[in-house]
Symmetry: C2
Amino acid sequence: MVKQAKSAITPTREEDYPEWYQQVVKAADLAESSPVRGCMVIKPWGYAIWENIQRDLDRRFKETGHKNAYFPLFIPTSFLQKEAEHVDGFAKECAVVTHSRLEADDNGKLQPAGPLEEPLIVRPTSETIIGELFSKWVQSYRDLPLLINQWANVVRWEMRTRLFLRTAEFLWQEGHTVHATKEEAMAETRQMLEVYADFAENFMAMPVITGEKTEAERFPGADATFAIEAMMQDRKALQAGTSHFLGQNFSKSSNIKYLSAEGKEEFAWTTSWGVSTRLVGGLIMTHSDDNGLVLPPRIAPSHVVIIPVTPKDETRKQVIDYCLELKKQLQDQSYMDVPVRVEFDDRDMRGGEKTWSWIKKGIPIRVEVGPRDMEAGSVFVGRRDRAPKDKQSMSLKQFVGGIANLLDEMQASLLAKAKSFQKENTRDITNETEFVEFFTPKNTSSPEIHGGFASTGFCCDPELEENISKKYKATVRCIPDISAEEVVPCVFTGLPGKRVIFAKSY
Amino acid sequence: MVKQAKSAITPTREEDYPEWYQQVVKAADLAESSPVRGCMVIKPWGYAIWENIQRDLDRRFKETGHKNAYFPLFIPTSFLQKEAEHVDGFAKECAVVTHSRLEADDNGKLQPAGPLEEPLIVRPTSETIIGELFSKWVQSYRDLPLLINQWANVVRWEMRTRLFLRTAEFLWQEGHTVHATKEEAMAETRQMLEVYADFAENFMAMPVITGEKTEAERFPGADATFAIEAMMQDRKALQAGTSHFLGQNFSKSSNIKYLSAEGKEEFAWTTSWGVSTRLVGGLIMTHSDDNGLVLPPRIAPSHVVIIPVTPKDETRKQVIDYCLELKKQLQDQSYMDVPVRVEFDDRDMRGGEKTWSWIKKGIPIRVEVGPRDMEAGSVFVGRRDRAPKDKQSMSLKQFVGGIANLLDEMQASLLAKAKSFQKENTRDITNETEFVEFFTPKNTSSPEIHGGFASTGFCCDPELEENISKKYKATVRCIPDISAEEVVPCVFTGLPGKRVIFAKSY
C-alpha cells in the first residue's frame, strides 16, 4: 500500500459516504450527539461557521428591509389547530409541555407536577403564534408591508437524526411577512428565494437550483413552496432553504386584516421563508474530501493558520516573534470588508499531527514557518484546495500582500468545481428505462452513489409522483425556474408535462 | 394647567413608577405580552437594542478567549437531580416536556400522545447538561482552561412577570468554563464580573456596584456568587448580571476530571456567568424620563432620525433630496468604529406626532429639515437629553463633522447623570432607626419611592438577614468589592460585620 494514498478520513467517500460524513464532522470537531435524544451539540468550530452564515444572511435580510424580532418558544395547542393542513404537518412530531414544575415522589425521583390547563408545544415553526400577533400589529394599509425575521431554535421530534442534516432541535431563521396584495407577497417570496440562492452560491460556494415544489412537497398550509436545492457529492439533493407563498390561508386562520386606502377591510397576504443549521451539512457535503472538511474562505471561521516549526531551542523565540509579526500583518489586511482571520498554533504537539488537525478542520491556508524561512524572509504555504504535500515557499511580503486575492481565488475555484460536479451529474432523461438506470446505484462498494439529478418531463400527477417515489426512491426536487415555462412530454405517461428535477434526497 | 408641563408618558415616574415603566415600553414599541403566559414578544426596536448588547458583549467574550457553542434546549430530569442544591433551585418552576406528539381526541381536540420514558425540562440554565459534555471534552490539563459561551433562550416558570425584568422565557448568554485550579477559576469569575461592569458602565451608561452575594442570594450550587447591581430611578436595585464561582460542586456531580501534568487525576474547577434581556429593563429604568425612552448613543439602534418638513409641494422633492444627501454624509461618518446609524422618516403623518414618536423611542438626535433650512444649508437639531423644545440650528457641515463628538458627549453626560443619581441616593446608615426611616416610602403619590442604597455594617447572620428582608422588604444586594476588607459594626447587632449594600430590589 502506497503511503501517500492514505487519507485522513476513514472510510473514504467511495467506501461509505454516510459514515464518511460522520467522520468528517468528528475530525473537524464541528458537532456531536448529546445525551438528549435527537439534540446535537454544536462545538466551537461548527458554531463559528453558523455565526458567519448568520452574519451574512442577516445583512442581506436587513438590506432588503427586514427587521428582527423575537416571539415565544411555546405555542398553545389551540393555535396549531387553527390551520388544518398545518396541524396535520406538525402535530405528529413535537415536544409537548404539560407541566410547570417537578416534585420528588416517595422514592425521591422527580415527577411532573403542576399540570397546565392547555398543553403547549415547543415551536416547530412559528406561523401560528406570529400570525396571532400580526393580527394585532396590522390594522391599516399603512402598516404594510410588515417584514419580520426571527433567529431561533425550533424542535421537531425526529426519530432518525443525523448531525446538522436532521436533528430534533435545530437553529434557524424564519422570515414572516405581510402584504396588501397577492403580487407583493409573491414578489417577496421570490425575492427571498433569490437571496438564499445568491448567498448559497456566493458565500458558501454551493451552487443551487431554484424552483417551485410540487404539491406533495409543499409546506403545510402554503399555496406555493419554492426551494433551493443543492447537489451533494453522493449526487443526492439537499433542500437547503425554502420560501413559501402562504396566500391568505394564515391571514384567514389568524385573522390578519387591514383597512385599505379605499376604506375596505381586506385579508392580507403572507409569506414565510427559512434556512437552518442544515446549511452546515450542505457545506460539508459540497466541498469536503477524503482528508476532511474543506471550507470556502468566505465562510471559514479562520482563513489562515500559522504553525511555528521550532526544532532548536535557540531560535525558538525568534521564530515565534516572526510568526506573531506575520499574524499582525495578515490581520491588517482585509478580505470581504473584514480583517483576515488568523490562528497562531503553538500547541505542544508533533508537527505532522498539528498540520493534519488543520487540514481536517478545513482551514483555507496553512503557513509553516521554521528558522530557515525566517532567515530567508519567507513562508511555506499550503492550500486546502491542493494536495496536502503540495506546498510553496513565498516571500512574506508577497504572501501578505496577496492574501485577499489568494482567498478570492480559492473561493472561486471551489465554486467552479462544485458547479461542474453538479453539471456533470445532471442528465436529460427522456424515457423510463433511462430513468431507472440513472437511479440504480453504480457497481462500487458504496451503494449510495448513483446518477444524480434527472431532468425530465413530468405530468405532475400526485398519485404517479407518490408511486415513483416509492418505487425508485427519487422525488421531484423542483420545477426549475429556468425551464418553468417549457412544455415537455412526461417520461412516464407521455402526457404534456413540465420539466422537473428528480433526485434522491436528504 | 400649563401645556408645556404635560409629558408624553402618563403616568409620570412620580405618579406611578411601575405603570410608567410599562407605558415607556409600550410607547417606544419595545415589547409586548404574548398570548402565551409569561412569554413576551420582543419587537424590532427592542430586539435591535438586544442585538447591540449581544454584539458588544460577544466581542468582549471573544477578546477574553471564549468561544461560542450551542447545547440542547432540553435537560433530562435525572441530570437536574445530580446537584442537590441546583435541583432545589430550579425544579419548582420549569416547563416539563412529557410527550412527543399530539393526537386528536373524539371531539377533534388535540391531546398529548407518545409519552416520553423520562420527562425533559426546558433549560432554566445549562450547568448540568453542559457539565455532562464537558466531562467528555476534558481529559488532560492540556484541555484546560475550557472557555465556552452560549447565546440561548431559557425558561423559568415565573408567575408574576414584567416585560424584560421577569419573564418565563428570556434570552441570555451563559458562560461556562473549566479550570485546573481554584485560583484560575476564581480569576475567571472575577474577570467576567469586570467585563459586565465595564460593559454596563461604558456601553449602557449604567453605573453598577460590583460585589459578592451573601449565602441567601447565592446561585443554587455555587460556592460564591458575584453580581453587578444598578440603581433604578425608583431607587430600587436591579441585579443586572452574575458571575458564579462553582468550586468543584458541578465537576463532582458531572464527573469533570483531568489528568494533571504530574499524571494525577483531579476534579476540575468551574465557573458560570450570565446576563439576559433583563439588561434592557435596566437600561429603560436608568435613563428614561416622563417623555419616554432615553437611549445612550452606543446602545441605540439608530443614532439620528431625519424628519423632512415639507409644507409646500413645490419644494418637497428638493427638501427630500437634501435630507437624503444628509443621510449619506452622516452614514459616511463613524462612531465607535461603525457607521453612524440613520433613519429617514418620510411617513405621511403630522410633524408633531412624528417628532414625538421618535422622542418616545429615545433616539439620541432628531434633525428636522424644512425649505428654509435647506436654503440656509443648515439643519435643526434636537437632543434626547435636552427638553423637547430645546432645538438648535446648525450648519449642515458643522453638524455632520461633529456628529461623533456630539454622540460621545451625550453618552458621557448620561453616564454622569446616572452616576450622580446613584451617589445622591446612597447613604451611610449607622443605626436601625435610620435604616427604617431610609426604607420608608417618602410622602409622595408614588409609594414606591424611598431612600435608595443603604451602606451599612452587617454581621451577615442568615436568619437575621431573612427577618430584615421580611420586615423591611430590603435585602443585602452585595458586599461591595471596594469595601470588602472593611470591618464595621453591624447596625442591628453591634457585632463586627462587613460593609454591605441593603436595598429594595427587582
